[in-house]
Symmetry: D2
């Protein structure tokens, strides 16, 4: 089985392998009339782009997106979405010629190599093929389109923890996020992380990270009981990102340690609320109750494991030979890698948040508009 | 929008409100020929049933399931699934007549009351209506059918933490799980939890919990890149359970604090493995890589918030009057409630694990069988 | 595989066998706030109900529908849809005890008996089980809910041809449809059909029919390129009705014999059109172009084969014995049957039209509202 | 709404406009291990290609397909599908620069111009944009992949009627289909059609056609009750092709004129049948009963309307001006057009048959394998 489409009304389908000629996404279900051209999408790809500093992989990819369909000059002279599928393509440029015989022959521990072989019988082993984090560029491109659908929403993601070192909430400054290579909202933490990530890089090792994301402006009512819950869709969206192993909404696992009184999100009337909406005096729930948005900020936390590609050789096994026998061997990742894959996960988490919210906006409009 | 169906090939659709005449599920896509009658499903409902001890809600529901379709006596004289939809119905019996005027008038904080009103304009307020945890009985019934599809898999769930008090892994005894009212595999912890939960109950308060679940026997290859990942589907399934706020696969957030070396899951040849499958010497990944099962136990952790229904009055607001104005008020939950909703979440977590795995078994067979 | 759900946003799932305890449908995705109770649904079931005259099967089924969920008294005191799944149940009453040993042992030609056995290995043979036209009662019930979603649309279906004898368009009178047991808009034809159908009934034979359906009030814009076309969805909906073998939109096969000039649907400005919509001076297209409604009446024609249950014995084969061998035998249908199944197809065709249009209204609102 | 994906397990998503840079399809869910390269797909595109003789449009498109993902050299040295999405791209080459101001300003009668405008507010008017039959090239490419999934099935389509002139079944010769520009199995009819089509072409007019298609080798059991019926899926697939207005399975509308005895498909034991399958002595049902294949040839007939693009001016209206007013005008199609669009529909009908059958093979394997 292969399921490369996400979403219900606002859907995207991605395709492409790390070392094939190109990767891409087809965005279907986008409403018509939204002003769009490549320049609307490119900045988000640039934020995710590798090779921008020593803290990320040195693979150099321009990641130039092309829009191949679904847009046209509207009567007002502006290029807009037409309501038909938007085909986005990003050519793979830096496919460094390389000897792949070792990864062809054995499985990289911590990677999907063995699982793909077990499922499909063989795999495109070059750079991880379809399981490469390179695929997330397609998500970021699709997410940029999704943002056009939800202009009322502001999405912010950042790294809150690297290698176990957390930001200090007291230092949180949203403007700081773009000022350092870690998408870190705490300047002091960013300073510390330089050391942590550089140490990992020099040691050929890697570190994990936690990415946090919030969306403001989500109206109460988006979401859907019971198997289209906004939080369940977010959990699916985030857990599906490469290297993610945990997702929390609101207080997450912390809520399991609170009492009912501590965890309550009391309400009070609000003179200035939109349409007479009440005001909440706490947001343990992360802006979602019963799978439906409450009008508070939607918040989630996402755990990224350390990059599996490391320079230390790991015990592993070979593909079976003709007799079905495997041999013990060792493998390590040569060449370019990300010492902390969670960092470049920030634009991806934002994209997935946008994609889920755009879909739920349309779903809500469809049935309760 | 309303999405009450889960799954791709093995699908179930649930219906029903807490205080309506009945609740139920329609299971579609179940393969034919599986031996089934009510006695196969009932034990799982009994395990979830309320009112069995003082640690859960005193609502008394027999939760007797009826199979209304999709089964027939096979040529071998055994009643079996026919491959057509299996309609399961559970009548609501203990709909104690009660005064609902306060919850009709105002929103219970921490509940979905306000969100439903914001979405749909009004709601069935009796006992939470559709957002009641009562709906999980339908999932448990559907999950019992799913188990028939995956006889090769063993699923075990248990509570690992209540009110912040964790089990000691050294005390883990799978046989202990059924010996106490907490589904606790650590006898000593179960003893301590009696006090914790009883204290909460007496105080009209509530506590959160963490449920862990593992599935053994899942063959390498089940799962699907990239938007039908086994871990993403599990995250969606678990996050969609009432009161759940966090989901981890394998080491989850803990993985974010490991180095690449610590987090590696090395492999070695295994003489006795099925079909020459290799052996892993660690399972940080929780049995899933690239969204595909590796053949190791599939593991997840699920965080349940404390029950929102507590006796302490909470500030809240009324529904808008004719002029659209809301008033400040206070609300508390009268009557029967669960001091720790996570406990009764254990059979639900098991059911969702079974439902996801049954679906992925069929998907895998469909395309890679 | 078993796919018992239809629709994208407005979805229904049916369950139940001809001779099981009940049949039913779960309608999901219905917008909230629509006034509903059983009396809204029952008249449509009554129109489809068997045993009302000698021209249909003598099975007596009261076909009383019960609403088990998804409705609640709204603040205005009216029972309304809540936006949650609406569970509809119809108990099977007239399950006459009967000897089924012959249909258990061999396949009725023209029925789905052999196909079900080939697919599932065995089948509920009583009255056709799941493949019985009895299932269409669930569709009619669901269709009655769908009608609430599209009050702007008027749907009319009627029989235009029985046993090759056609109505005269010049005699078409919409008020006549309810005046005869054939849903025939031509009183003279209805008179002739009495003889045709009665002859078939007495001879233990059966005749085919053509049902025509049109929907007025469908706004231009409903529908969706390219694999959610309104005409493709109608074709699927109609072809999926028991005994249907052909579907036409607009001029259908007749269009294949026209020239481009003859088949054109010219337009002209219309002073009174809604929102300045133009007026068409022909409707060969049946109200759909490029899969999207044009604002003209949506028209289709549906061919029903003659009932396969006839009294004349037909050559057939037995189920394989233990050695896998089949024997030649003959089978005929004892007891009650419909001499012209197309007649009772009229309410079903209307229901499917309503279900498709309700879905497309919500889809359109979701993405182009 | 926009739905550009077809299928359940074997799915394809198409994108692209007639005069954009390219069109394409993403095929998802294709099983791994199938030998594939461009040369496997190209012949089917060549059969559909325009500009090959005077009986089709003179637009010259090389229609060269490129495979951008989802394939890799397997261990046996052969390029094979990997189980990941297969991205197929066809560049648009012959986008003759042309004055589109008239179609930008008014609607071509019989085309989707007005419907698209009504739905989306504006449209890519160049050559019909997304509604152009050019999109069917993507279907043909995807269909070529689908054929690899069902090597046991042979699919044959042909034109059986043009402008009301039918083939003589007595002259049917399958080898003749490739010998004339009409995919006509009757040499004498092909001769006659030269005149009919050429007359239409010279007159700037157009004629309709009927395409018939059969698939042999479809095993009994493929298909699915009740809303995934094989015949309903075929009806949807065929009705969704540009210009199609009618679909029949088996005897279709003809069955409505038969008696139950005439329409019966009797069975008898068959010594040489696969797995002891019985033999049918008639096939009025077109190989499908209850939505499930019976093992007989699956047959369908598809009605194509005459090409809407004709040289005779047709009354129509303009897009509304700033005041929302429309003007009466006339429009005719300048330049290249197909005098009989049904001819080039043959490879498309075959492709859709293959796509539906591939999907149902995987569905069947998934749940009843």
């Amino acid at each position: 089985m292969s399921v490369n489409t996400f979403g219900r009304l606002f859907r995207f389908t991605t395709w492409g392998e790390s070392h094939g000629p190109a990767i891409g996404a087809v965005v279907d279900g986008c409403p018509p009339g939204l002003a769009i051209d490549e320049s609307v999408i490119q900045p988000f790809l640039d934020a995710r782009k590798p090779g921008q500093n020593k803290f990320t992989t040195q693979r150099k990819e321009p990641d130039q997106v092309r829009i191949l369909s679904g847009v046209f000059e509207a009567p007002d002279g502006v290029q807009r979405t037409t309501g038909t599928p938007i085909s986005l393509m990003i050519e793979n440029v830096d496919q460094r010629s390389k000897d792949y015989s070792d990864v062809a022959r054995a499985y990289r521990p911590g990677h999907a190599d063995y699982a793909y072989d077990a499922k499909y019988g063989f795999r495109d082993y070059r750079g991880g093929g379809r399981s490469s984090a390179r695929e997330t560029a397609s998500r970021v491109a699709a997410g940029a389109v999704a943002r056009l659908v939800i202009p009322e929403v502001t999405i912010v993601a950042y790294v809150s923890e690297i290698g176990g070192d957390m930001i200090d909430p007291a230092n949180f400054d949203v403007h700081e996020i773009g000022n350092n290579p870690f998408f870190c909202p705490d300047a002091a933490a960013a300073k510390r992380w330089e050391q942590i990530v550089d140490d990992a890089r020099k040691a050929g090792s890697s570190v994990g990270a936690v990415v946090e994301c919030y969306a403001t402006g989500v109206p109460a009512g988006w979401g859907a009981p019971l198997y289209g819950k906004l939080d369940a869709d977010l959990a699916s969206a985030m857990m599906g990102i490469n290297a993610v192993k945990g997702v929390e909404i609101g207080d997450g696992f912390g809520a399991a340690r609170l009492s009912g009184e501590e965890n309550a999100d009391p309400m009070r009337p609000c003179a200035n609320g939109p349409d007479g909406a009440p005001e909440f005096t706490a947001n343990h729930a992360g802006g979602i109750a019963g799978g439906i948005a409450t009008g508070q900020p939607v918040t989630c936390r996402v755990a990224f494991k350390p990059t599996s590609s490391i320079l230390t050789p790991q015990p592993t096994v070979t593909r079976p030979n003709e007799k079905g026998e495997r041999e013990a061997t060792e493998l390590f990742t040569k060449g370019r890698h990300d010492p902390c894959v969670g960092i470049r996960g920030v634009p991806v988490v934002e994209a997935m948040m946008a994609l889920v919210l755009a879909d739920h906006k349309l779903l809500h409009r469809g049935q309760c508009g």
